[in-house]
Structure formats: C-alpha cells, structure tokens
C-alpha cells in the first residue's frame, strides 16, 4: 500500500491534461482518504501491541528488501501522513488555481512525497528507509521550488536540499555502521540484539551520524536554517511538509532508534540538549519575524525542539523506572499529534490570509477579525493551543513537557544533577516566548486597526472549501483536549510501547493518564501560570523591546554562516582548481614526472629495495664505452642545441648509436629495424621541419628551467635506480630457453626473434600493425581534413 500514491502519481498528468474542467485535486484526494481508511483498520491490531508485516523482496542477496512494518509508532505517523495529506489536498483544491497553476506537477510531487513519507515510517529495512528518506528530500526540493521562476524559491529549495541531503548521507553512514555491528539491516533484528552494541567501536560514531540525519531533517539547531527559507513553497506544501510530516521524519527516526541507542549517555544528552536549545532558539527568533509563514516556520522549529527534548528525556526510562520519564515519552508522541493538528491549521490560515489580502507581512495586516471571523476563530484556537492554554490540546502536552523537564533536575545519572537545573529554566523561558509569538501571530493579524491602504487586495472571508480543512484540524485541537485518554489509548500508548519495547508487554501498561488538572501541588501548573503572567506582560510591552533583535547583525547569523560556507566552497574550489589546472601541458608534465619519481623513490626507500649486485653484470668492452660516449654526447647536444636542425641531426646520431648498441649486444633484427626506422623518422622530421616555427624558449624563466632540470634529474636517477635494482634481484629465471629449444620443432623457423613476432606472440604483432595503420590514417585524416577546412573558410570569404 505504500506505493499506492506513487502509482497514482503516474496517472495525474493524464488526468490533468484530459480533464481540464475538473480540478485535478479531486482525483488525488481519493488516494489519501483511501489510505487513511486502510490504515485505521490496523488500529485494533496495534492497540494490543501487535504488528503487521508485509514484505517485498528487492535485493535479497544483500539482505535488502521493502518491509512494511506497522506497529504503534508507524501507524501513528501513517495516520498523520494520510489524514493531514487528505486535508491538505482538499485545501489545495481551493488554494491553487486550476487554470493558472501547473497542477499536474504539483500533485505528482505531492504523491511522490506521500509514498516516500509512508515508506520512511513503515520501513523495517534501514536501506529502504534511507531510500525513502532521500525521496522525501527530493520531492520536498521539487515542491519548495514549485514556483521555479522565483529566485527565492530556487534558493530555498537548494538550501533545504543541501542540508537535508547532507544529513541523509551522514545517516546512511550510520546505518551502514549499524549493519556492520548487527550483521543485518532489519531494524527489528537490530533492536533485538542492540544490547551487544554498546561496547562496539562503531557505536558512538553511528549514533552521531544517525542523529545528524535526524537533526537536519527535523530542523534542529543549527540545521534549522533551511526551514524558514522553505516557506517559499506554496502554503499547502508548507502546511503538509514543513509542519506535519517531513520535519517529523527526524523525530520518527529518533523514536525508532531509541531502543538501540538509549543505553548511551551521549544519545540522551544530545537529543535532550539539542532539542531544548532548538526550542529556546526557535521561540526567541519567532518573535523577530514579520512574515506570517516565517513566524510559523520558527515556531515549528521550536516545537520540534520541544518534541526532540521530550524524546531524549523519555529515553532515560532505559536507565531508571521513574514514571515521570515514561510520561516524557508519552508527552513527546502526544505533542507530535497535537502539533500536527494546530500547526497544520495555522499554516492553512496563513495561506488564507495571504490569499485573501495579498500579503503575509504582519506589519501590513491587522483588524481582520470582523472581516474574516471564521479564519480568526481557527487561528485563535491554533495559537492558543500552541501557547499551551486550556482548553486546547497544546495545554496538555505542554504541562507534561514542563513536568518532565522539571524532573530532569533530580535525575542523578550521567551528571544530570549538576546541570539539570538548566533544563526546566530554559524550557520555561522558551515557553514564555512561545506564548508571546502565539499571541503575536494571531492578534497582530486579526486584532487592532485595519490598514486598508496597505493591503493589495480587498480582504474578505475565504470560501468554505478552503476553510474546511483548517476547521477540521481546529476542531480536533479542541476534541483532543477533552478526550486525551482515548487518543492515548488508541494511538499514543501503542507508539510508546513501540519506542520502548523492553519496558512494556502491552500498551495498557503504559501508566499515563492525561488529565487537565493536576492539583496545586504540580510544579507545571505554577510554571504555566508564570508563563501566562510574564508572557502577557512581555507581549503587551512588545513594541518597547522588539528592537533588541536588531542588535544582532545580519552577518553573525547562522544563515550568514551557511552563505559564507557556500560561497567559500564554490570560490575556494574554483581558486584551487585554477591554481593547479593552469592549462599548460608543461605544468601537468611536471606534476606527472615529479609524482612518478617521488612515489617510486619513496617506495624504493621504504621497502629498502635498492640492491646492486655487481656479480650479474657482464664485462664491458671498449666498443661499448666508445659508443656510450657518442650517445651521451648526442643527448647533451640535443639538450643545448639552439636550432631545430641541429637537434634533429643529433637525434639521428643518437638513434644510430643505439643501433650500434644492438649490434654490440648481438641483436641483428633490432639493429636493422632501428637503423631503418631512424632513417625514415629523420626523413619525416626533415619533412615537417619547414612547417615548424623557430625554436623558442617559451618564455621560461631561469627558475622554471632549474625546476625542470631538477625534475629531469630526479626521473633519471629514479629510473636508473629501479633498473639497477631490478637487474640485481630477479625472482624467477627467464623463459627464453623454451624458445631456443622449440623454435625448430614447434615453429619451423631459425630466427627466434622473428618467430616470436609472428608465431609465439603473433597477437602483439597483429595489434602493432593495427596501431601503425591507425597512425597512418590519423596523419592522413588530420592533414586532409585541415586542408578541407581551409578551403571551406576560403570559400566563405
């Protein structure tokens, strides 16, 4: 069933083209609704702590397959994905114009994304999980860049791609390490043997790599920077991907791997710490924003941090059985649902405001309450839930959050007792800011004076179809507040059991009862009261202190760091390649020769391979010495020759003395061939001679020449040393005796050299003559084609 959306996506372009009259979204809507219905049938299974598996083999020889594993955790996410997916498709039908927009593209991307996301949350195999993970990155890239004619869209798409793919690749590394540790890619089997990993050398490394993947995807500090820029996407996309589903893939990952890694203190510290830091950072910067969707983006970042820190705190259950940390895990998954409901509705409202007024700039908005009452109500419900006020579901999870953070203060393992006091304080401050930006969002938009002249469009209430989805979500927000335990029983507790399989035998053992009222003794109550009082005071005085945000200069932000990294890597790489790729063959030859001689010499030195065995040398006669002197003189003459002619003649002399050497060393065939070939090639040189320009020094400086000399000397010394030591250390004796013995009997010949050439190793000769003919045809082609070209250009003139 995972593949249903992607298969449906195949038909979307056809529907879009053939049925112009009907908005394509209506056909697409069927898919998530169907899937939602399908997944609800699993609820009864998962509620008892059971699971459903279906498997599709992919690469069985490598242990890679598509396994759809549905337990409490994945059913929770699957329902979120399909449920919110259905609402988003419904919303987009009214949001996107069927005549102006390329709806075919939009729904194809969206359906691909849906498959990818379902794949991420249901995969049992880490490799297929990774596959779907990158598919979410790619489809999200396509969706963010949907309006690809805009610069900002392309920038945002690229940025999110870079960051999430970076994280994805890190995660793949972590998965592979896990696979090495466990010998399997199946998550269930990994969890089953996870207790053996703790002392493995790869354990911490794979932990950090997987967390990097989760943090980049879930926009945690400092990787959150892509999320605000991804707000250039169409609003349905922002609502779906960047609030309810994709950004929660990281949370899913953390939850899924908690049974494996929670034994480690690094995991708990990192997840809790980074989550809390993100919460704090995001909530503070949300107040700075002036764009509605940017506020929501930062608030998403901060809420994701909240859930992340709760996941970290919940992981502590592996070390202690204090009920409060079980509560944290429950709260994390509970808040995940709550956040999806209220943030989805808020994004949709922001889209409606944008759609109906023509702007999302909060400084231009205001006083829309009476014009858009329904939107206001929905936005109010969503914001109040986000701020954590009763009677909305955000209140319940916020209370549980504060309780768990408060409990961290007393936790005595892993040095939490020294630093633990920081956690509730930071959490509390972040809650205050959450309160402020929630009010900021809703009241700056809908309350206050109307600024008619600033609005591009005449504002009016949105059509009912567009409002339907946010209304459904907002009513869920309220409903969940009144029946939290039902939600807990059906969805959250099975999920908690999936995250902590060792602790519970049945979901009902998760001893958490959510109640709105804890009594006065609860510290969370007083913290909430404090949040409301301080938050309200700060909100009312917002205009007085909002200026402090401008203290932070732009070039000290994380975005600036990202931009600088990008420019640096681009320019730096450019400069680097221009530095060594200067286009001069001379330079490249220097690299090659220097490399060859350095590598060879160092190998000779390291292996201690330089041995000269004088005993294998033969006697030197006077002919040889005289000939060698002639040869060396010829070579020296070539080097210092000022004219080409001199160099060619000296080269001929060198060639003939080599032929003489062949005579001295009793190689008549070689001597003959060398003699003739030298003659022919000198003739060729002389033929080409008249076409060549005068010998010049190519503008080389003295330093260049010195470098050339040194490298030439180095190569010469290298080759000499290699030749000497190779000669002195023969491992096996020559095979030439066989040729001498069989030349008459096997090959019917007397000249061993020629028999080897045409008979024993005729293969080589066959291809050598092929080389020769290619050279001939090459020369012919080069010269004839050049002439033909010249004639062409002459005709054109």
């Amino acid at each position: 069933m995972i593949f249903l959306p992607i298969v449906a996506a195949l038909f979307v372009p056809m529907l879009f083209r053939k049925l112009k009259g009907i908005h394509t979204g209506w056909f697409v809507l069927v898919v998530p609704v169907l899937l939602f219905g399908y997944y609800t049938t699993f609820l009864s299974t998962t509620m008892d702590g059971g699971h459903a598996i279906s498997e599709l083999q992919w690469i069985p020889s490598l242990g890679i397959s598509f396994v759809s594993y549905i337990d409490g955790l994945s059913i929770l996410f699957s329902l979120l994905i399909t449920g919110i997916g259905a609402l988003v498709v419904l919303y987009s039908i009214f949001y996107l114009d069927k005549n102006k927009e390329k709806l075919g593209n939009f729904y194809v991307y969206l359906l691909i994304f849906m498959t990818a996301m379902l794949g991420v949350v249901q995969s049992d195999n880490v490799i297929s999980l990774y596959l779907f993970w990158e598919l979410t990155s790619i489809s999200s890239f396509l969706l963010i860049g949907y309006w690809f004619t805009r610069d900002r869209s392309r920038f945002g798409a690229l940025k999110s791609m870079m960051i999430t793919v970076f994280g994805g690749l890190m995660m793949l590394g972590g998965f592979i390490l896990l696979g090495i540790m466990g010998g399997t890619f199946s998550i269930r089997e990994l969890i089953a043997q996870s207790s053996t990993f703790i002392n493995h050398e790869f354990f911490t490394l794979s932990l950090i790599l997987i967390l990097l993947g989760a943090f980049t995807k879930s926009a945690q500090f400092p990787f959150y920077i892509w999320l605000p820029d991804a707000m250039e996407a169409p609003t349905p996309v922002s609502a779906y991907l960047h609030s309810a589903t994709m950004v929660k893939a990281g949370l899913y990952l953390v939850a899924r791997f908690t049974p494996i890694f929670a034994v480690s203190e690094v995991w708990i510290w990192l997840v809790t710490g980074i989550g809390l830091l993100t919460l704090f950072w995001g909530s503070i910067f949300a107040v700075k924003q002036t764009d509605l969707k940017a506020i929501l983006a930062f608030s998403t970042v901060s809420q994701l941090g909240l859930i992340m820190s709760l996941l970290g705190a919940g992981a502590i259950t592996f070390h202690t059985n204090e009920a409060i940390f079980a509560l944290a895990m429950f709260a994390a998954l509970f808040h995940l649902i709550n956040h999806a409901t209220f943030k989805g509705s808020l994004f949709m409202i922001a889209g409606i405001v944008d759609h109906e007024t023509g702007t999302r700039d909060i400084r231009k908005l205001g006083g829309l309450m009476s014009i858009m009452p329904i939107s206001f109500t929905v936005a109010f419900i969503g914001s109040m839930s986000m701020a954590g006020l009763p009677p909305f579901n955000g209140f319940l999870s916020k209370e549980m959050f504060l309780d768990s953070m408060f409990a961290l203060r007393d936790f005595s393992l892993f040095n939490f007792d020294t630093w633990g006091i920081v956690f509730p304080i930071v959490a509390w401050i972040a809650s205050v800011f959450t309160f402020i930006y929630s009010f900021y969002f809703v009241f700056k938009t809908f309350a206050g004076k109307r600024k008619k002249e600033k609005l591009p469009l005449e504002p009016h209430e949105a059509p009912i179809g567009m409002l339907l989805s946010p209304i459904i979500l907002a009513s869920l927000v309220v409903v969940i507040f009144f029946i939290p335990n039902v939600v807990g029983k059906w969805l959250v507790k099975p999920a908690v059991m999936a995250v902590q399989p060792y602790e519970y035998a049945h979901p009902s053992e998760v001893a958490v009862t959510v109640s709105a009222w804890h009594g006065f003794a609860s510290p969370a109550l007083w913290m909430t009261v404090g949040v409301i009082i301080i938050g309200a005071l700060l909100y009312l005085s917002l205009s007085k202190w909002q200026k402090i945000y401008s203290i932070q200069p732009d070039h000290l932000s994380l975005n600036a760091v990202y931009d600088a990294t990008m420019t640096f890597s681009e320019k730096g790489m450019n400069r680097l390649s221009r530095f060594y790729m200067n286009g001069l063959i001379r330079t490249y030859l220097i690299y090659i020769f220097a490399f060859v001689s350095v590598i060879t010499l160092s190998v000779l030195f390291i292996q201690d391979a330089f041995v000269v065995d004088m005993s294998s040398f033969t006697e030197v006669n006077s002919f040889g010495i005289i000939n060698a002197i002639i040869l060396v003189l010829g070579v020296i003459f070539i080097l210092f020759s000022k004219t080409r002619l001199g160099a060619i003649i000296a080269l001929g002399a060198v060639g003939y003395s080599v032929a003489l050497f062949f005579v001295i060393f009793k190689a008549p065939d070689l001597a003959l061939t060398q003699l003739v070939i030298e003659t022919v090639s000198v003739a060729l040189f002389l033929l080409a001679f008249q076409h060549l320009p005068k010998l010049s020094d190519h503008g080389e400086t003295k330093r260049n020449k010195l470098a050339n000399a040194i490298i030439a000397l180095g190569v010469g010394v290298t080759v000499t040393l290699v030749a000497l030591s190779a000669h002195s250390q023969k491992l096996i004796s020559s095979i030439s005796q066989y040729y001498i013995d069989t030349v008459k009997t096997e090959a019917g010949g007397g000249n061993i050299v020629n028999v080897i050439l045409v008979d024993y190793r005729g293969f080589d000769t066959l291809f050598e003559i092929a080389v020769l003919s290619i050279a001939g045809i090459g020369v012919l082609g080069m010269i004839k084609l050049r002439l033909a070209k010249k004639e062409d250009s002459n005709e054109n003139k």
Binding site: D669, T673, G748, G750, N751, F763, T765, L772
Partner: protein, 140 residues
C-alpha cells in the same frame, strides 16, 4: 629554382631496385636469418623515400600507382585472415601450420603460414609509412 639532378636521378633508378630486392630478400629470409616483414617493409619504404627525394611526389605516384591506404587495409586483412584461418581447422586462434614441399622451381622448400602473416605486416608497414610521408609531404 630547378637544378639538374641527372646524376642523382640516374643513380636512384639503379639503387632503388637494389634496395627493393634487398628488402624482398630480408623479408623472405626473416624466418631463418635476421629480417622479417617489419624490416623488409621499412626498407621498401626507404627505397620509395629515395624515389621521392630524387623525383617529386607526382612522378612517384605515377610510377607507383598504388593506393597506399588500401594497401594498409589489405595488409591488415591478410594478417588477421592468417590468424583466424586456424580456427577453421579446430585449433586455437593464431596457430600456424608449416611443412616442407617440393616445388617445381625451388626444390624442397619449407612453407609456413607465418609467411602470409609477415606479408601482411610488410604491406601495412609500407602502406602506412608512405601514407604518412605522402600526406605530410603533399601539404606544402
């Protein structure tokens, strides 16, 4: 400027055949004494170069009306054909056959399929070398 090269041209006419015959000798003797297709081909090339030096390109082309590019191709085909002929006799690629035959004019002679291969080498060497020289020399 045209100088009178009577001596050079006359000598060349004579020497050309000597070199050519020598190259044929070298070629045929290759299996038993130093020589073979490669050297033989090169020597023939040398002879033709001598002709080119003494006369001009057009005269040589008239005197030796071969297409040297096609000669290269024929040589390659000959070599490959000899090599692959062996597979028809169910022996590995490149197996040569040889035996002694009694020929009417030469008496008992050892014939060897390697000779045909060598002839291919000969033709390729002459063909490509002359192709190179002709195309470079012709471009002026």
């Amino acid at each position: 400027m045209k100088t009178n090269d009577v001596i050079l041209q006359t000598t060349t006419k004579l020497v050309f055949f000597i070199i050519f015959l020598f190259s044929i000798h070298i070629f045929f003797a290759g299996h038993y004494t130093p020589g073979g297709g490669f050297v033989g081909g090169l020597l023939t090339t040398g002879a033709i170069i001598l002709l080119l030096l003494a006369f001009d390109l057009k005269t040589v082309q008239k005197a030796l009306p071969f297409n040297f590019t096609i000669m290269t191709g024929i040589g390659l085909l000959l070599a490959l054909g000899t090599a692959s002929g062996s597979i028809f006799f169910n022996v590995p690629f490149f197996t040569h056959a040889f035996d002694d035959f009694t020929l009417p004019l030469f008496g008992v002679t050892s014939l060897h399929t390697a000779m045909i291969f060598d002839a291919g080498v000969f033709l390729v060497v002459v063909g490509s070398a002359i192709t190179i020289i002709q195309s470079i020399g012709g471009d002026s």
